[in-house]
Symmetry: C2
Subunit: 704 residues, 2 copies
Amino acid sequence: MKTPLLTLLCFIAASASAASLQSPDGAFLLEYQTDSEGVLTYKLGYKGEPVVDQSRLGFELRIEGEQHALNSGFQIVEVIENEFDETWQTVWGEETEIRNHYRERLVRLRQEGSGIELDLRFRLSDDGLGFRYEFPEQSNLRHFVVTDELSEFAMTGDHTAFWIPGDYDTQEYDYTESRLSAIAELFDSAYTENASQTAFSKTGVQTALMLKTDSGLYINLHEAALIDYPAMHLNLNPETLVFESWLTPNAVGDKAYLQAPAQTPWRTIIASDDARDILASRLTYNLNEPCKIEDTSWIRPMKYIGVWWEMITGKSSWAYTDAAVPIKLGETDYTQLPRSERHAANTEHVKTYIDFAAKHGFDGVLVEGWNVGWEDWFGHEKDYVFDFVTPYPDFDVAELSDYARQRDVELIMHHETSSSVRNYERHMDAAYAFMKQHGYNSVKSGYVGNILPKGEYHYSQWLVNHYQYALEKAAEYEIMVNAHEAVRPTGIARTYPNLVGNESARGTEYQAFGGSKVNHVTVLPFTRLIGGPMDYTPGIFEMDMSKLNPENQSHVNSTIANQLALYVVFYSPLHMAADLPENYDRFLDAFQFIKDVPLEWEKSVYLEAEPGRFVTTARQEKGSKDWYLGSVNGSEQRSVSLKLDFLDTGERYTATLYRDAADAHYLDNPQAYEIETIPVSSQSTLQLSVASGGGFAISIVADR
Amino acid sequence: MKTPLLTLLCFIAASASAASLQSPDGAFLLEYQTDSEGVLTYKLGYKGEPVVDQSRLGFELRIEGEQHALNSGFQIVEVIENEFDETWQTVWGEETEIRNHYRERLVRLRQEGSGIELDLRFRLSDDGLGFRYEFPEQSNLRHFVVTDELSEFAMTGDHTAFWIPGDYDTQEYDYTESRLSAIAELFDSAYTENASQTAFSKTGVQTALMLKTDSGLYINLHEAALIDYPAMHLNLNPETLVFESWLTPNAVGDKAYLQAPAQTPWRTIIASDDARDILASRLTYNLNEPCKIEDTSWIRPMKYIGVWWEMITGKSSWAYTDAAVPIKLGETDYTQLPRSERHAANTEHVKTYIDFAAKHGFDGVLVEGWNVGWEDWFGHEKDYVFDFVTPYPDFDVAELSDYARQRDVELIMHHETSSSVRNYERHMDAAYAFMKQHGYNSVKSGYVGNILPKGEYHYSQWLVNHYQYALEKAAEYEIMVNAHEAVRPTGIARTYPNLVGNESARGTEYQAFGGSKVNHVTVLPFTRLIGGPMDYTPGIFEMDMSKLNPENQSHVNSTIANQLALYVVFYSPLHMAADLPENYDRFLDAFQFIKDVPLEWEKSVYLEAEPGRFVTTARQEKGSKDWYLGSVNGSEQRSVSLKLDFLDTGERYTATLYRDAADAHYLDNPQAYEIETIPVSSQSTLQLSVASGGGFAISIVADR
């Protein structure tokens, strides 16, 4: 179904001009206008309530070396209206097809004096607004520098925000829930330490930003289709409560180098009076271009385990040797160095993981620390830090590839770049070719530490361009990418569905680094996951890190039932079971849910949602009548009454409930769970008690 | 012949210590000492006269995030003495073999308190001193940042210097001859405009720096073996007349990232009381590593013409179209754009160059502007600016390759990067493979404009590393490199003789951009050419640029005889005849010298030399009895009496003299030359008159 409708409205240029646009269902009202100074503003309402108050749009540019303010003197010279309604098929996702229905206004502006043309493209759908700037081909503006983007998002009150510190280099923070007016005073405590971090303002926050008004309106601010442009942050003016766009700069403070015709990413405002609608929104994907990969048959969701958690907890090491010798790739002879007993990525040990994966039906095994260079990989501004093709002497890549293939398991490649991105690009072709040669079809890449060359940031245009380059080149090799510490996703996986995962948030690893907030997983679906799936690496069953490594006193702030729920609540085509095989062997009944839960879905239903409190999601397996249900809870113990009216009427099901025991608690009793099997139907209502930091997971299998 | 001698001297650590070393011939005396504060200094004398006065050595480092001064508290813990005498074969050069004879002191230092070990390696040969810092493997110092190198070169008086402004991005300046004390006041007038330039101090100058003392001592300061380290400039303290090393920074002001064991490039001081010895010195090459390319048979000197001067003068254009459309590689369809009549790199026109090359025995034809992207290549911070493999529609690469091959001519590739170095690296493999596929064996690369990513400079460590990467990767493909706007050479061509040329100075192109100083070519052999050959592109016969392009009022400040002399005076394995074929057709008798002059030499003799005044060089053709002689003159008309006693005694020769006519003058009569053929022998003395901006060239062919 594709029904583009086109209406052309021509305005006479005037000193001031105003117009409005309604969403297809009439709930949203966009208004935009130019005032007597030619300043362009927009505002957005939802069911009669303001979402974003009057907010200015524009830029500071540098054109041919001269600064130019492109934020006033605008005349609307033409408005082109369009309606679009199309349903597209997903390669993977929370559903098999997504409807993209919007009304569009292309507002063509000309600046008096300069004659510069700038277009604003607004797309209003039933879940919210996307707008972007477009610089059409014109003689007045060819190559230019964006020194500042001046997009505003004027808040209508002192909302509650779920925010992380604005940072050019990392999103790996716990979320802080506070009034907007409290961001400045809470900033320092929220700005926890990271291997690479660059804050820019005590009122700077990152997108996707989740907000809730006192009247119960949920607002999400983010961006879509971040291509060849710096990532946008938001800086709050604490007096006016206006958020201003804050682009990530390069080493000399410039933001973006563009050539007309060009456009910015979309700035997105998703809003609803029901928090579940925020999770159901597909605005971010819809604003991205359709899939550019013709044959997507090689893109397959994967459930995997990995030689990873044992290093994260400090039980094992990535490095082959503890010898304090200088490591120089191509010069160091590792066979002459004493091997550390803690080196986990060794052939025999990896075989035990492959065996475990084969036994339990996992698709893949990730192995980190397999390649030379880990002895001094981090924090040294080391340019030639890895070559991505040379295994340590105790890792037999050919033998392991064969071993895995014979057991119908795939090895997952690991490319830690140490943020030496030039070095990665220099080795990329060889590294990808090496992967294909040895049967690896997916790669986890990493960008730990400060970017080389220094002065560039993880989220600057130069790096955004790099991640895209790595992704597109991977597609040429038919390789799936799961990029950690890269820029947070903005729906690009619609266009390049080989981007099967990203980290770009505080993942499970932080549970071994001191722990994350109990309610962290109830916030992520409203923030980080808006742009695309996260390789969150759930499935930790042993919460006491000292059991793995006596020197690690960290505690995983979650119950086992909560961990299980994440496989449903956090949609991802790539899900890890992150704990050690021996910990799963201790809880094989609970582990069964991880084995059973599918990765591909027919559709998804959001049963309960409140950021920071709880999220309950049900998903129907692709091509099946079976459903899987997950619920994660924040710190408040709660009781849930859950109607299963999403099930097919007339169908009978057997539900297996994995839930917190009555005395479960994330802190002192996290492993207390109960498993119960009961018949259910669409008429059923389940009564469940959920622990602090707890959750539940349910498989609902249609009777055959 | 290889006679390494080893002596080990052990010192007892003391509060102060001093020692000295003589060059093999006894002319040079190096003294070094630590004072009571443990400050390390050196001084250098020549025949009893001071060359460099007491000068400090050391660093400012950042180790594990902490600044650390490594410039005092030194104790000499060990001194290792060595003598080395070896003669090595050149792949190309001013002679077939070079003697490398030096005495060496490795002074091993330990800093009190920090325990950091630092070694100073001094090599003293009969032409001067090289020293470098070495950071040995040690537990106290593994990865570290050089925030400053503190090497001093204390001048002993207010010498005359031939200098260009210190700059992180370009060496394309006319030389200024002045007293050291006058540098500051002359700096602004010397700092002429360039597409990319970054001065750092009004007393900053570049190396190779040529100096002359009032007593007639010639001193040259430069560096050798610049690998993975920033290029060094010199900053003069105008009060003390001490030059301090000034390394090129990166975007955040750091200079170098090193990992012990590591070493700096060599800091070189060549000195003599005879200016000719400066030209005869091979210290710079000798301080580089021996050749690392096993099979060098594919490295062949080349004499070439090119589709180039017509663009430089503005007669023709690099760009295919003048249409003001946005050029986006992969999107722009050039076949739909109007072709400019001025686009020189078209198949038919290139064929006329190939015909001319074949007719006159040239090895190669360079073609610039053959590939898509030239319409907006420069000054726009455009990342994806060229792809290096897509020809314009009017350039048939397969047809021209065939056409050239059939005529025993090679096409020379051109890779302008526009300083978008990441883009070049991304395309490098494909670009080199494309070359080999089409029979190109050499590439002229270019780095015009500011470096991308912004903040890096042409001479920073990151870029030095890039040029080396491009060079070594070219060697893998058996490709010769002639890199323009890259860092100035430091003798690396000994190690990688596929580096057959560099620009890195003000080349002939500036004669079409307003003209260069008349005596420019008498300075370059003492400065730029110390580090390696220059693709100077001599051979301009038509000095009036308006004859080529009415809008170009520039004048080439040189006589034709001077242009001919450059083929001998400027040693290069790669020499262009840069003028248009039609201009050579007007002066075929003079052109004969360019056709005759060889590129490979048995040996070289420096007959006369005075920086800024004149240079006269004689070279014997490799494997032949024939000699070629060139002399370039500055602005003062002069008479020369030239003894040919370098010729074989008993041998009879026929000399063909190409010299300025009596009324020749670079400005108003540059094309006045005379050609005379006379018999000569080693007993002969030639009397020659040389015009202002003139010169002479002589072929001396043994009678057979």
